[in-house]
Each structure stands twice: as structure tokens, then as C-alpha cells.
Assembly symmetry: D2
């Protein structure tokens, strides 16, 4: 099968998530990196591209040049897809331009900076008919597929309670004051957006809860905390939700839980049972049934659902990790692109990766959190602003 | 050493917590059960007492008779202490009467039904100068002593964030409709009080947070949920707190987390590190330091604090459980009573068990939860009602 | 119910296992300590007895005096049972004398010093018709009862492989040279017997394997190691077994696994599934089925076998530990003694605690280990010495 | 940097380990698969190659053709390296031929079928001066690097005891009789060699023990078991070792531990502490110190050794798994090849991946196991056959 050529925006030397995208794209042999605008600094972009073995002529000084120039290449040479791995403020413009020039897009999360950008991107995706994937990678784990299957197939009964906690400790000091790159942009409102931790990791929790349960929030009670003095954005948050079926939700987020690594977990309880998953032990799903022994479901077990199976590369007991889960998004995109190649079309609902809809929903989540946080009322209606806009 | 004679109110055949109290009292050989008013049904009290090997003459039909009659016994024969192990609505009266007749009291939690009762008991304890212990047993675990030591000695730095989750699944069905004894009174407002799950297990979480951190709440945002249809009290709650030092707190409580057993855990983060403890693996305390390897502290380890050591009976690796932690309260009470015997006095602050102060604070917690729950304001001041009463 | 009066031999101030026996006996309210010969030093015995609140007249200078004098007491005053909690070399004589004077016996493990003693005790038990219990306490855990049920009911299919590892680190230094009491007698051949670690903890592993599987060893290949220089007995061993049904066994024992606490675990594999249990997390039994999801069975779960249920005191999620498991032996003995009281007889096979048969089998295990260790042949027949004696 | 072109022998459609090699090679962007002899069936090789996107002209019907033809390509087009991912019996010939034609080699384990082949390959590697890597992938985990550092830097003190257990359950039925591909060749002496489980997974354990401790065995006592009726090779083994420094070793291997996935663990005890690692939770290393709190070291922690750091791709808390560890071998090979490109030479000891020396040592291990197994003596000298050959 012919590899899918792709270009990358952002992800130069010293970047974290760009390297992850490249490994995820490489893992299953579906993609070939052919070009890049790897840094806002043209010289750094050049060095980074050379380091990655790119053809010098396809290392571009900026994303606009890349998108326009690549569009001139013959179809079998030019990139088919762009991966956008820049900080949040630099998602909207390249994503929109890439779509308009006919490229598929993989974009890091959260989608963008504002709801206006989000809705505009959604329109652009719709208009251009291109594939747009958002890398909420944690839903790529096989055990999350299986958890979703348990829930959506009704095995757990109606869902009553969802708790997701995502805690890290790396921002427990005033790290941005030391010029640390990852900390600096994430705590800078001009680069991160209205929120800090809530955008960086809270949106992962929102995406997880939505992916697993399919429930729609109806009310929210959100509290943002800025624990480290001098910090400009939230580094901790407690968010309560009420869902359309009457279930309750709790999302706890912290980047100041000193010593915590990347402790993302989710508990979902229904009338017939509960399940628990922890990202740091990702190949294990614990199910606690009402009247049966507890089960430990593991990646690679026999009898799992189709989506868990197709998200798994190795036999049971051979741990698959973060990169593999991330790569499952790229694999899904590869399948969609290959369908698109053949049919000039695709049905996004047939693919199991986060899309523009997840991106928009995530941005709405951020807006709801901000609106609730600034309200003295305990509960506000979720997405009330959408109604008031009409 | 002469054993301490005690009587029991409640705890007849089929009771759960009464049996726990008896095992806890027996474990270290300090106590001897000499009398009881073991049930509100005199016949059942009699049968239960015979079953326990009590002298028939000291099996009483009701608590009043017991307290009064025992007071006529010579000092070396009569009970010195009463254990009250009845449902919540039956704590205040026997506790007050026992104190007034000069007996020390161990009382199950929560303290009573109303704040008025709580304050009145506090006055009675103070007036009578007797020992009063409340069985918030979870703070009896050695690893909780050690956790408290880490926090109060400053090792974790100033505390910023406390999260305690206490989830059970046993009330995930409408169990009280089937006449199950434990469920029936706990979900009955006339026997349990203003709250259900919050009183039954939420007060344990409040006690834990207070014991560990010593922080005082200043604001609260509480939400009570009644998940099971037909139930008369809360079976689930999300409670947010703000503390006097600026720290934030989260207490999550549920008795409808299907399949959960007795999953009580607590996470405390300070500027220098975090710690985590889980009741179902109670001999393990995980400490995550900012700049050092994570540590697993275990019951019986060398180098632990004095209070952890004196709460431990066995060498490392020999699991101590729920009854042992419970028994640590009784051991503390035994020490206090022996001091009282010798000195006619004691300094309650020198003993490491929950007292009337914990009981009052727990009742205030319940009141704050109720007040916040019924408020449309996101945050209300904690203990505001105390000021408004003045 | 009338309490069972018992006396204790050994277990004075500073002893470890004597205190455990007392707590185990006290826990369920079945026993009352009425006398003791608590130390080989009469003065220390006296002090220890006073400390325990014993009547001075029933604190004896030595076990012979105690057994004889107690036999003169009226039946409702004298002890009915003796607990022997001395070092190994001091089990045989008091056990035999106590039996001969008509007392029931609870004896710490291993049974005695030599096979001759073991067989003689067995004859005495049989002749006197008294209850004799050996405190291989680890089989008292509810999850071990349940594991045995899975195996013996055939759920796991024919057993193929048993691995038990019991490692501690407390003897990783030459502790006996520092006069530490527990280390000194355990490493002294005149007090411990032919073996050190194998007798102290290896016999627990043998007992566990036998209790769980009921398999009989046919061949053995044993290796004893003395790791710490100057030590007189083994502190580490690797023992391979072949069983009558063709299964293989591995018993690993070490008291020099630095930093290990009391890490005793067992894995049993059959054709249909495997199970795993770890003493330091004793309320959890993992079952790995051939074609079904892994299960975590926990103390207090619904649906457990009768023996697990009757070994459990608390609802699920309330950890029961070492003392509770130990106390299950005492509870079983109490039941047997009460039957004996009524019937003047009892059927030992109806009770679920280790008996003289376990003691003899353990001593045979020690002899087999020693015989194999000193053989250059890889495998020797198990219990070959019994045949050659005939 | 220019990618390293490589060819693959074996690894056609339906293969397990070939796919793993390709993912491992792809992950870090160092390699490009350019040719293959992917199956012994030329038609299947062709289909597999097309599926992988290979140029049809470089999909070869057999390994000889591939090696010879590729050698005619210009240097910048031809493969530089061959990955051999066939069953054991098909390692020696292609490895030797590839080396002789000047290609670097990555070969799956165990090295080959016989000691003669092993020694001959060692000579060939030495003569040709090419890079030869053996994929004992488990030593590629960062926590194993760190464990080795702890041991080799002396932190644990002199090593006394090493226990490694590697259990799987997938061969607990007579799977080879059903034509299952992975089972069929592994249990076929003509394709697997003298041993089954010992070669397949026992050599991983041997490699782990050797890599971690650097100790040399001096004596061995090995027992092979064939548990499943009709099977032609061992599926279970217990192997005892004595090392040159006096330490003892235990290697337990089973592929009939029903329900076990890939449960490979290792415990190493020294005078100052012990460490434990489990492959199924690979980012965690537990260190139990003699006099200090237990530590949990995790991938990505600060303060780790250089080799652990360079084996890590992601921040702490982002799980890295089997493929990443496997890829660490390929990354090491890439570094060595790039040095070779520049210098025409390399120093194999400077690279942290298993080499021909590991392969030879593994084959010697197999021979020792077989020799001991067939001996009635409990212990035989390790590598005695090497002396007797002289």
C-alpha cells in the first residue's frame, strides 16, 4: 500500500508533542513525513527538518508557504495531510488554510482559542469535505474502547455517576518564570487561551467522559483555581456536571498535585456495575459487577469488542502504551484517507477517532467552564450561550 | 492490669457495628463486657446478652435502666464505660445520661441528630469531665498517623489540595424496601438525621481531612444527590471546600457506586510532595515527592513516627486491618481511663482518638452541607450559621 | 456461652507470637486467659503474668507446675486448654504433658524438633482423644478457604503446577550476633532444630500447598543455603517437588531477601485456570481462567464458599488481616471444644484448622528437605525414610 | 539524517514477531524497509511484500537470492542491514550469509539451533566486523537499565539471590495439534531446537539475569517438564543456578500456567537492598532498601541513569511499552551503524543492545540446561562441556 505523505507544522527540535506525532505516524508504516514548517523561526525549522532527513526544498519557513507550495506539487508527490502540533493559538489559521487548500488535517488539542474559531473550522471542514482528526489520544487505548463497549451495549445499565480525575504535578512550581518552554506557552493566555489546565488536560477528561458515555451535560458548576502565585491561568479545577439522563459527573483537574506524573483516571457507575481505568496502567480495565465477581479485563484478552481488537497490536501481556494509543488515531486517519482516495468521500462516523465535532465540543466545554466559574450561581445551564446567541 | 468493665447499648444479634466494637474492645485485653442493653426489644436484648455470656442480671431491657442500675454497683464491680452502638437517633440520650451518671462513653458516629444535641453533649462532656470517644475508626490506621506526621511536621510543605473519595455500592438498589436492617435506618430521616450517605460515610471523610491537615474550612459548595428512586435521603454527594490557608478540598461520597466495597481514599498535596492512602490497602502510604523518588511507607517500617508505632501491633508485612484500627481507639480510651483512675483527671489532647470535638465538628459539617445544598449560591461561608446564631 | 479458660506456656514480655495468640484468642470473645508459665525465668513469668492481669496464684514458674496444679482445680475453674508459644525445642514436652493431663492444646509451629517427637505426639493425641491445633495461621485467611474451594471442587481442573514463595529480609544481617531474641533462637540448632528458615517459614509454605491442593509429594529436590556468614542454619532454600498426580511444585524460602517484609505468596495452575494469592494483600484472590476474564475475588464478596464465609467477620472492603486469620484457628478450636464439652468427643475432620496431622506432615517435610539437601542425587523419593524404617 | 535501508527475512502475513520488528524499526524514524524475503513460500513473500508497499523487484523468493542480489545494488540503494525474524532453525544460515556479504544483522532470539552454529556465527561476526544484534528486547526497558545501574554501581551491595519467573499460559492446551502457527514451530524440535519453553522464554530470563547482574553461573540444576500430553518439547522448567560470587539463582519458566499472559518478572537481592520488576507493569521498579523506605522508581523520573534516560521517549506518566523497549535495540543498532558508516568501525561494548555474545551465552545456557536435565546429579558444573571439548 502506498504510504500517505504528510507535512508537519510545528514540532521542531525540543518540542514534545511533535515527536509523539511523528512516532505515532511512523509506527504502523502508513505515513511518510515529506515536508515541514517546523518552527516559527525559519532557521530552526531548517535545522529541524534536516535533522529529520527532509528534503531541504520541502523545509518551509512558515505554514502558509508550505501549504501553498505543496499544493503546486503533482498529486503523487505532494503531501496529502498536515499535522498541526503547535501551541493552541497556532491551530486555527493553519488548519483552516490547509483544509481550504484541500489537505486532510490532524490537529493537536484543544481545537483552537475561541468558540468562533471552532465553529468556523467546523464549517470549513464540512465545506471542504476533508478528514479532520483531533488528537485526544487517550481514547485510543484498547481498554477505553472496551469500556465504551460495556457502557454503550448496556452491560453496566443506565449510567448514574461519572468521575474523572486528571492530575499532574509538573506545574507545582512557577516553572514558566524559568523559561521552561512547555510551561511558558501553556500558562500564557495569548498562546493557551482562556484556560490553562482545563484546556491542556481538562479537555482530555471531557473527551473521555463524552466518548465513553455519550451523555450530554445539561448543567455545570465549575471552579477554577490558580494555585501558584504569579501564574496567569488556572492550574487546578473542580468541575461538576449534570447529564441529560440524570447522571452526575465530576471532573477534577490539577497540574499542581506535586509528584503526580500523568494520573488520568475515570470511573463510570451504572445500575449493574462500575468500571475503572487508569492511564498509567492502561492495559487494565476493572469492572465491578453488582452480583458477580470483579473482573480484570486486559488488552489482548479473548472476547473483546471489535474496536478494542483493532486498537491492539500485540498478544496479551505485551504492554502497549501512550504512543500506540496515539498511533491508533493515525491508523484510523490512514484508513479514512485510503477510503477517500478510492471514493472521493468518506463517512466520518464509520471511523473511530476524534474529529472536528470533538474539537467543537471541547471548546464549548471550555466556554461553559469559564461561564460557570465567573457565575455566583451554583449551577448554570450547559451551552446556555448557544441559545442566547440565537 | 485490671480490666476496664464496660456496658453496651445496642449491638444485639444481627448488628454489624456492635460486634466490631466488641472485637475492638477485646483485642488488646483492656476491656471486659459486663452488661448491656443490647436492643430496643427487651427479649432480643436478653437473648443477645446470654449469647455473649453476660450475667443475666446485667442484661437490661433499656439503656436508662442499665445506666441507673449500674450506678448502684460497687465501684469495682460496676461498668466504668458505656459503648453506644445504636443508630444515630439513639446516640444523644444515652450518651448524655451515661455522662451524667459518671460513666465514660465511647459513641459511634456521627455524634447525633442535630447541632443542638451536639452542643449540648459537648457541654455535658465538659461539665462531667468524663472521657468521650467517637469511633471515627479510619484515623486509627498507623499509616494515617504517619501521613498526619508528614503533613503536620511540614515535610509536604504548605497544603494546597485535599481530595477524599469514599464510595460504596451496597445502596445501589432500593435495599431499604426489602427490609434490610442496615439500609433501613440509614435511609430513614427519623433515624439517620438530615443526611444519609453524608452522615454515614461523608463524616468519616471530613474527619480524615481534618485529622490529617488540621485545616479549617472557610467556604463550602455542596451538592447532595438521591440517585435511587424512592429513597428519602442522599446516597451520593459532591462537596467542595476552601480552607483558611487557601487550600482547596474535594469530598466525594457515594453509596451507589455499584460494585464498590468500601473504597475510601485520600490524597493530600503540598508544595513539596503529595501523599495517597487507600483504606482497602491500609498498610501502605504512598508519598510522591517533588524532587525525590516516590516512597512506599508501610506499617511496621523502621523510622516511623511515635503515633504510628504505638498504633501497630505486628512486625512489617503482617497485615493489620479494620478491627485493629478500630481497636486503636479503644486502646487510647483505655489509657485515658487508667490515667483518670489514678489522677481523677486527664488531658484529652494527650490522647490520639476522636473526641466530642470531632463529633461536634462532624455535625457542623453536616449542617454546612445541608445549608450549601439548599442554597443557589455556589459558595457559602462555612459555619456562617454559628455567627448568625449569635 | 461460657468462655473457655486457657493457660499459656511462653509468651512473656517481649515475645512476639505469644501476644499474637492472646489477641487471636481474645478477638471473638471465646477464650479467657486464666494462667500462665510465661517464661523459663520464673521472675519474668511472674511480671508478665501480673502485667496481663492474671491472678498471682496462677502464674507458674514452669510448665510442669502449671499443668499439674491446674489439674487439681475444679473443672469449672481450671484451664481447659493450653497454648504453647515457646521456641521449637520447647513444644514437645509441654504438649505431651498437657495432653496426658487431659488438656486440649494449641501449639505454635513447627510441631517439634524431630520426627520421633512428632510421631510420639501423634500417638499421644490419638490416645488421649484431645483437641490439638497447630497455628499454621496463613491458611486461616478467607481467600485461602476460597482458593481451596476452587481447587478441590475441580473448577481449576487437574492441578499441574504449584509455586509458593515466602521471602523475608529481616535476617539479611548477622542479627543473632547482636543478641536479638527472635533471631537468636531461630538460628540456633539446639532451639530451632535441623533447619532454620525452612522450619520457620518453609513449613508454612508446605502447609499452604498441602491445604490448598491436597496433593502428596512423591519426590523432592532440595537445596539449603546459608547466606549470612557465621550463621548456623539455613536462611534461604529452593525446594522442588513432584506430586502423586504428576504436578510439579516449587517452594522458595528466604529470610535474607533484603527489604522484604513477609512476602508469602502462592500460585496454583490447573488445566482450566490459575490462582494467585499474596499474604500482604490477603483479602484478594486473583483467578485467571483459560477462556474467561480474570476475576478478583475479595473477602466478603457474595457467592463465596461456606468456609470462606465463616472465616469472615466484616462486610466486603473492611480489611481483615493477620490477627483475624490467626483467630480463625482459635474460633475453630472453640467450636471443637464446645462440641467436646457436650459430647465428650469430636470429629477432627469436621473442623477447619491445622491439627497434629499437619504437624507431623510438616516435620516429615523438614526431614525430606534435609535428606535431599545432603544427597548428591537430584531427586530422592519423598518419605523414603518411612519405608526404610519399616 | 539518511535513513538506514534494511531488508527482512521472514515476517510475512500472519507472523507476529516480524511485525514487531517493523514497528520497532519504524518508531524512531531511523530505518526504511526496502526489501524482503518474507516467507519460505515465494508467493506468500510476494503478497506480503506488496502489502508492505515494497518495490516488487525487491521482494525476493528466498533469503539467498535477496542477500546476493542486494549486494549488486549501488551502496546508497542497497540494504545495509538484514532483520532475521524466522523460527529458530532458520537463523543461522541467513545470518551467516548476510554477514559474509557485508550486511549488518538484527536477529531474533534464540541465536540458532546448536552450539556449533553459535560459535561459528560468533567467528563470522568477528571476522566480518559487522554489527550483530539479538533481540532480547526485555532488557530494552528503561527500568531495566536503571535496575542494572543500581546493581552494577553497588547500591544494592553484593548480590546474593536472583529469582526470575517467566510464565505464560498460551500453551496450556495441545495447541500445536490444531495447527496454530506460533505453537507449531515452537514445539517442533526440528524448528525450535533442543528445547521449547526454555529456548523461547527461558533465554530471555537468562539474558535478563546476566544483563542485570553480570554474574557468571558456575553450577546448574535444571529440570524440564513436558506437561501437555503429546508435546515434543518442554513447556515448563525449574532451573537453579550458583554464581561465581556465591549468589544463588532461580529461573522458573512455564508456558502452561493457564491464564497467565506474559508474566516475566525478576527479583534481585543484595546485602543493602532488593529490587523487583514486572514486565506487565514495566515502567515501575520497586527498590526495597535495608534501612530506608521502599522506593518506586518510574520511567521518566528525574535523577535516573544515562542509559535509562536515553531509553525513554516520553515524560513520566506516559506509559512506554513492549514496542518501545524493542525499538531501543533498533535505536542502538542505528547509532552503531552510523558510527560504522563514518569510521568503518565501531566498538560494540559502547552500545547498549544484545549482541552475538548474548546469543552465544544463551545457546550455552540451553546446552547447560539440557545437560543438567539429563543428569541424575543434583548439580553439574556450568559450561563443563566447554572444558571437555578442549
Amino acid at each position: 500500500m502506498r504510504k500517505i505523505k504528510y507535512g508537519m507544522i510545528g514540532g521542531g527540535i525540543g518540542a514534545f508533542i511533535g515527536e509523539v506525532h511523528r512516532m505515532a505516524a511512523a509506527l504502523d508504516g502508513n505515513f511518510e513525513l515529506v515536508c515541514g514548517a517546523l518552527s516559527s523561526d525559519p532557521q530552526k525549522s531548517l535545522e529541524s527538518g534536516i535533522n529529520l532527513g527532509l528534503d531541504k526544498h520541502r523545509i518551509y519557513p512558515d505554514f502558509r508557504t508550505m501549504i501553498i507550495q505543496e499544493s503546486y506539487f503533482p498529486e503523487d508527490e505532494r503531501m496529502e495531510m498536515v499535522s498541526i502540533v503547535t501551541p493552541n493559538f497556532m491551530h486555527y489559521e493553519p488548519a483552516k488554510l490547509a483544509l481550504e487548500y484541500g489537505f486532510h488535517v490532524v490537529c493537536d488539542k484543544p481545537l483552537c482559542m475561541t468558540l468562533e474559531e471552532a465553529y468556523d473550522l467546523q464549517k470549513t471542514v464540512s465545506k471542504m469535505g476533508k478528514i479532520f482528526a483531533l488528537t485526544h489520544n487517550y481514547t485510543g487505548y484498547p481498554m477505553i474502547k472496551q469500556a465504551r463497549y460495556f457502557i454503550q451495549s448496556g452491560s453496566l445499565g443506565p449510567i448514574r455517576r461519572v468521575v474523572s480525575s486528571y492530575t499532574q504535578g509538573w506545574l507545582s512550581t512557577f516553572l514558566e518564570s524559568e523559561g521552561q518552554k512547555q510551561a511558558s506557552w501553556r500558562t500564557d493566555p495569548t498562546k493557551s487561551g482562556y484556560v490553562g489546565a482545563v484546556g491542556d488536560i481538562g479537555t482530555h477528561a471531557e473527551n473521555m467522559v463524552s466518548y465513553l458515555t455519550g451523555l450530554t451535560p445539561t448543567e455545570i458548576s465549575a471552579n477554577l483555581n490558580t494555585v501558584v502565585k504569579g501564574r496567569l491561568l488556572d492550574d487546578d479545577a473542580s468541575i461538576l456536571l449534570r447529564f441529560d439522563n440524570g447522571a452526575t459527573g465530576v471532573i477534577l483537574v490539577s497540574q499542581v498535585a506535586t509528584g503526580e506524573e500523568n494520573n488520568f483516571n475515570v470511573h463510570v457507575s451504572g445500575t449493574e456495575g462500575s468500571l475503572e481505568w487508569n492511564q498509567m496502567d492502561p492495559n487494565r480495565l476493572v469492572v465491578r459487577w453488582k452480583d458477580k465477581p470483579k473482573q480484570e479485563i486486559r488488552t489482548g484478552d479473548s472476547g473483546l469488542c471489535d474496536q478494542a481488537i483493532s486498537a491492539t497490536r500485540l498478544p496479551a501481556g505485551h504492554p502497549e502504551g501512550y504512543i500506540e494509543a496515539f498511533a491508533n488515531i493515525y491508523s484510523g486517519v490512514a484508513k479514512a484517507i485510503r477510503t477517500y482516495r478510492q471514493q472521493g468521500d468518506f463517512k466520518i462516523r464509520e471511523y473511530d477517532f476524534p474529529t472536528i465535532f470533538d474539537g467543537v465540543r471541547g471548546m464549548e466545554f471550555i466556554q461553559n467552564v469559564v461561564n460557570s466559574h465567573t457565575s455566583v450561581k451554583k449551577w448554570i445551564f450547559y451551552n446556555e450561550f448557544k441559545k442566547s446567541n440565537n
